[in-house]
Each structure stands twice: as C-alpha cells, then as structure tokens.
Subunit: 357 residues, 2 copies
C-alpha cells in the first residue's frame, strides 16, 4: 500500500524521539473493558473557572467573555459568530511522552498482524512486535507512516470507531496508570464549559486524526463529532455483500491539520474565523495568527508546560527542557508577547491539573 | 494553471446542454445593489408545513418527526443525533435551466478578463465574452473547467465571498426576473424550520461549491456556514504585505460532493449518519442509501419536478421530459419505491412553490 500521502498531521520527527519512552506493545487490548470516569465540569451558576488561580490568564478569559457577550459592549459578538477553537494534544490533554494516537497505532499492530499474518516477518511490523524500544525509536519515517496507514486505514469507518473506543476503554498512561481519557486538563474543561455557557460553539482543531478524536470528544470534552476538525483522510463509499452501503477509511490525506493546515481546516470545516483560539506549540501558531487577524475582541492563548512535578516541563522556551513533542520554542514565546497572546503557566495559573487530583 | 482536479461537483455534461438557455454574460454586475427579500417561515406555534397539501409526503414528514422526538416512542432519537441533510440545487431552490453557480461563473468572466487582459483573446474566455450562446454551449469540458477555475479560485477567501454576495444581490433568474435567492422552495423552507423547531440540525449537502453556497445559506435557509457541506477546494494560508494572514482559494479539489461523494462528505464534515435526507436526482441516491442504512426511523425523500406551469417538468422518470440538469431517471424512481423513499410531487404535494406567489 502506498502511504506517501498519509501523515496524520503528526510531526514525524517527534515520533522518533518520543517512542523510546513507550511501553510497546502494551497488550492492553487483552485487559478487561471497564467504564471510564466522566470528568465533571461546574454547573453554569457556579463561579467560573474554579481551578484557575487569580491572575492574568484567568482574567484574560473572563474579560474576553464579558466583552463579547455584553450587548452594551462595543466588542459584542452575535451568538452565531461565537466560535472558539482548541488544539488537543498538550492543550486539552497530556501529549507526553508521545501522542496518544501513536500509542494506539503501535498497540494495534498485533491485531493487524493477526489479520494479515504475512506482515509478521515484514518490517516495520516485526520490529514493533519485538517490543525492542531502542529499535522502535530508530524506525524510519517511512516505517512509521506504514504503521499509521496499516492501523488507521483500510477498515470500515464503524469498525475503526469500535476498535479505537475499545482501546481507550482499556489502555492506560504509564506514568499515572490511568485511562488516557482521564488525562484531560481540568482547567481547560472548565474553559470549554464556560465558553459554551456563554453561547460559544467549541471546536477541537487538532493535528491528530479527525476520526480518532471524534471517538471520545463528546464524552471527554462535550464536543460533538461535527465540531472536531483534525487531520482528514478520505473515505470510500461502497456496498457490502448484502447491498448495505458503508464507508471505508482510505490511505489518502485530504488535509494535514497542523501549522498552516489549521486555519485551512478551520475554513474548510467551519467557514468562519474563530474569536478565541487555544494552543501550546508551533503547530498552533498560524491558528492563533488567523484568529488574531479578525476585528474586535479576540482571545489567543498558549499553554506552557512548566510543571514537571504535576505534569511535564518542556519548551525549550523560558529555559525549559527541549522536546520534539509539542515544541514551544522561544520565538513562539516572543510572538505571544508581540501579538498580545496570553501564555498560560501550568505551574502558576492552574490550581490543579486533573480532575482526579 | 492546471485545472484537471477542479470539477466543482457539477455534472459537466449537464453544463453543455444547459448553457444554451442562458443569457450570457448578463452584465448584472453593473446593476445597482439592492436588498434581497427574506423568505418568511412560520413561527413554531403555527400549524407545521402550511404550504404542503395533505397527503403521503406531508404525512411522512410529520410521522417521522413525531416518532423520533416523542420520548415514549421506540424510535426516539436523542437531540444530539438529530441530523437532517438537504441537497440544494433542485431540492431547496431552482436549478433550471442551469445551476446558479454556473451562471455566476460565466458572469464573472468579464471581471476576470478585466483583471487579466491577456485572457481576452484566449479561449474559452473569448467565446464567453462574445455572448454567442450556441458557441458557449459547444465549449468543451476542459474549457468549462478553465472557466470554473478562473472564477472560483486564485483569490482571497474574503474577496470571493464579497464578489459572490454582490452578484447574488443583483443577478436575476431570466424566467421570473427575480433574484436567485428568491427562488427557494417555500415548502422546503418550512421543512427546514419544522425540523429545526424539533431540534434537528439541518445541513446542506450539495454538489455545488461549499464556499459559494455558504455566502447565502444563512440568509436564505437559516443554515450557518459550518453546516454547509459542498464540493470542497483547498485553500492556502499566507501573509499579505503587512504581515496579516489570509487564505487563498486554490484550484485543488479535496472532495467532489456528489453521488458517492455525498456520504463521504457527510462523514468528513459531520461524522454522523443523518436521520433524514432530501434530494432530487441521481447525485443524491448514495446519500439516501447511506441514511436509510441506519437503524430506527429514517426519512428519505426525493423532489420530483413535475410542474412545468409553476416551475419546471423534468425526469425522465414518469414520462417527464429528459434533462441533464438534475436528472431523475426511472431507475431512481424504482429505487425509491423499493426502499420506501417518498417521492414529493411538486405539482400535487405543494400548494405553492415560492414565497412570492
């Protein structure tokens, strides 16, 4: 299968450095399915943003909502134009040591090989099956694309959704030993709810696969499938043996929803410029620029991971350790200062990171 | 500019036969801009579907809404899953003698040539400028694609939207001498409102250009840009001389949202299977099949243009005159009977066609 065009919006260099930290394969598909915790958000009548410390980040959000929802404000925004977009990995949930979707793809390899035994002795599947982390970390970009293609495409849409849902119900993050879906940031869940309580339509705009994120976005973030903008692959309409129509996921990239692809994806899927945009890395810069280029009040925010104790610390902005997964370099910090974007310090602005704390 | 991949979802054979009926170029861009009439829909408390005659088509709609919104019904559908999709050309508004978007493209040729004088003596632009209907009707498919590409791509997204809006505010349909946007079908506007009053999210799923239809869908149909699924072209993110970011429409086809492309577009943009789908031609068959393949109550309807007096009569189903613009062949009629889809007779089911009657 030709996979040149399947990139899934992930910075592929990032994969290589992040993979070494993984337990692979996790075998979690064999574990028992359990119900997942629902993260709770505050009711509308409560004080907004209870997990946020009083400070410039919290005030930027409160001021923006006040200015754009007060009919007497010169910056009032009509309800139908209230669009807010959120990057996912590193902005709404944990992205270290490596993107959750990549863990999924690697975990899926044994199942794919079980269905296609001829892959067992073929690279890169053989290396993934070996569980040799060092060897996996050395896989080439073409190898990684072959893994993404084999695990994310070629199956009916419904089958993919069922497989991804099953995985999410069992796989756990190695550091916290918790479901990945428990690792959404409580302060960001509060922002989502607060904006929705004020008639904002909240969208995810992610470099991750659109169909993957859709499988859990409603449950975790309260965001329905039609409000998930992600890296988009083609599907193919066809009929089964009984004449029943179905869609198959194709290894054809329609849009890499990262960097410049984010505003392009926003135009494609939403057709409006957001009033608020949240990100955490270079892949979000163009989305924030595009949002900020609109008239009136606009809110642009970047999450800085500066809390190694409660989550992770990486930049390399502000002298934080470097990373290739969710890079926040110093020039992006400079852009934020220049353009009036607010940088959220996980350490200083968030009273708690996760609902389970 | 290479235009192989720009097709705009229009059956190109249809263009050739329909073009002969057109006044080209209309020169309507020179006319004065006037406010357009807003089509009125009934308030929620009124009797639903007042422009529909009592009969099987009206009852199919009423029964579907009753069954899917009554909590006590075994066919009850949760609010968040209530999705209804509507083809546009020939289903929501007039598509004869030729698609409105094609009229727009031909009308735009003089402006494009004014900006690029080198095109004046070059085909196919020279022929379009000549106003010779017979010659225009004989343009090749490649010629027509060159016209679509030159008039629909290459400009900033905002500029395209402004141009299309200006055109819609001035251009008129030759038969009724009314704005194209006045030619929405009043009974279908009532269906849109009735479904929305019952918490259905209404989408347009059109073979026409997504960005073109978005320019008027909110005003005419009450459908916001993010609920318009159409033939999708790529955009390119960039910066102007002042460093301000903007998007340019590219001659790159992402999805031809017609025939099998309709369910593919629905999955891409909505990520859910509709509970109701409305169309009028072969291009809608797969959307109705995909809708009908779901569990529970599903509503599939096809508009049959059998009213030459008040609108147009074409099929060739049921002995109506043949056409290549919005073809409804007898086999599609057979599919409707076999699958339990309801065929709407414009003549017998609709008391009036337009709000202005």
């Amino acid at each position: 299968m030709k996979t040149d065009h399947l990139k899934s919006g992930i910075d592929r260099r990032a994969l290589v450095s992040g993979l070494a930290a993984l337990p692979v394969p996790s075998g979690s598909l064999l574990a028992q399915t359990r119900p997942q915790a629902q993260l709770q958000a505050p009711a509308a009548q409560d004080e907004p943003l209870p997990s946020w410390k009083d400070g410039p980040a919290k005030h930027a959000i409160l001021d923006f909502v006040r200015d754009t929802t007060d009919q007497a404000s010169p910056k009032f925004v009509p309800v139908e134009e209230r669009i807010a977009t959120f990057d996912q990995d590193g902005t709404l949930w944990v992205e270290h040591p490596i993107y959750t979707q990549v863990v999924y793809c690697l975990d899926r390899v044994p199942s794919v090989v079980a269905e296609k035994p001829e892959l067992k002795e073929r690279e890169p599947f053989k290396t993934v099956l070996s569980g040799d982390r060092d060897a996996i970390a050395k896989l080439s970009l073409d190898d990684l694309e072959a893994i993404l293609s084999a695990t994310l495409t070629g199956m009916p849409v419904d089958e993919f959704e069922a497989e991804a849902s099953q995985w999410l119900a069992t796989a756990k993050h190695p550091r916290w030993n918790r479901f990945y879906t428990d690792l959404a940031y409580q302060p960001m869940l509060e922002v989502l709810h607060y904006l929705r309580d004020n008639a904002y339509k909240t969208y995810i705009v992610t470099g991750g696969g659109q169909d993957f994120v859709r499988t859990y976005a409603q449950r975790i973030y309260g965001i329905p499938p039609e409000q998930v903008v992600g890296t988009m692959g083609g599907t193919k309409f066809g009929y089964d043996n009984n004449g029943k129509p179905f869609l198959t996921k194709e290894p054809k990239l329609l849009l890499n929803d990262d960097h410049a692809g984010k505003p392009e994806g926003i135009h494609l899927m939403i057709g409006r410029r957001p009033y608020a945009a949240f990100g955490n890395s270079t892949g979000d810069q163009q989305m924030l620029e595009y949002t900020g280029a609109g008239d009136g009040a606009r809110l642009m925010m970047l999450v800085l991971h500066d809390d190694a104790e409660r989550e992770y610390a990486y930049g390399p902005a502000q002298g934080l350790p470097n990373t290739r997964v969710g890079t926040f370099p110093q020039p992006l910090f400079g852009e934020a200062e220049k353009n009036g974007w607010t940088v959220i310090s996980m350490k200083n602005d968030w009273m708690r990171i996760f609902a389970f704390e």
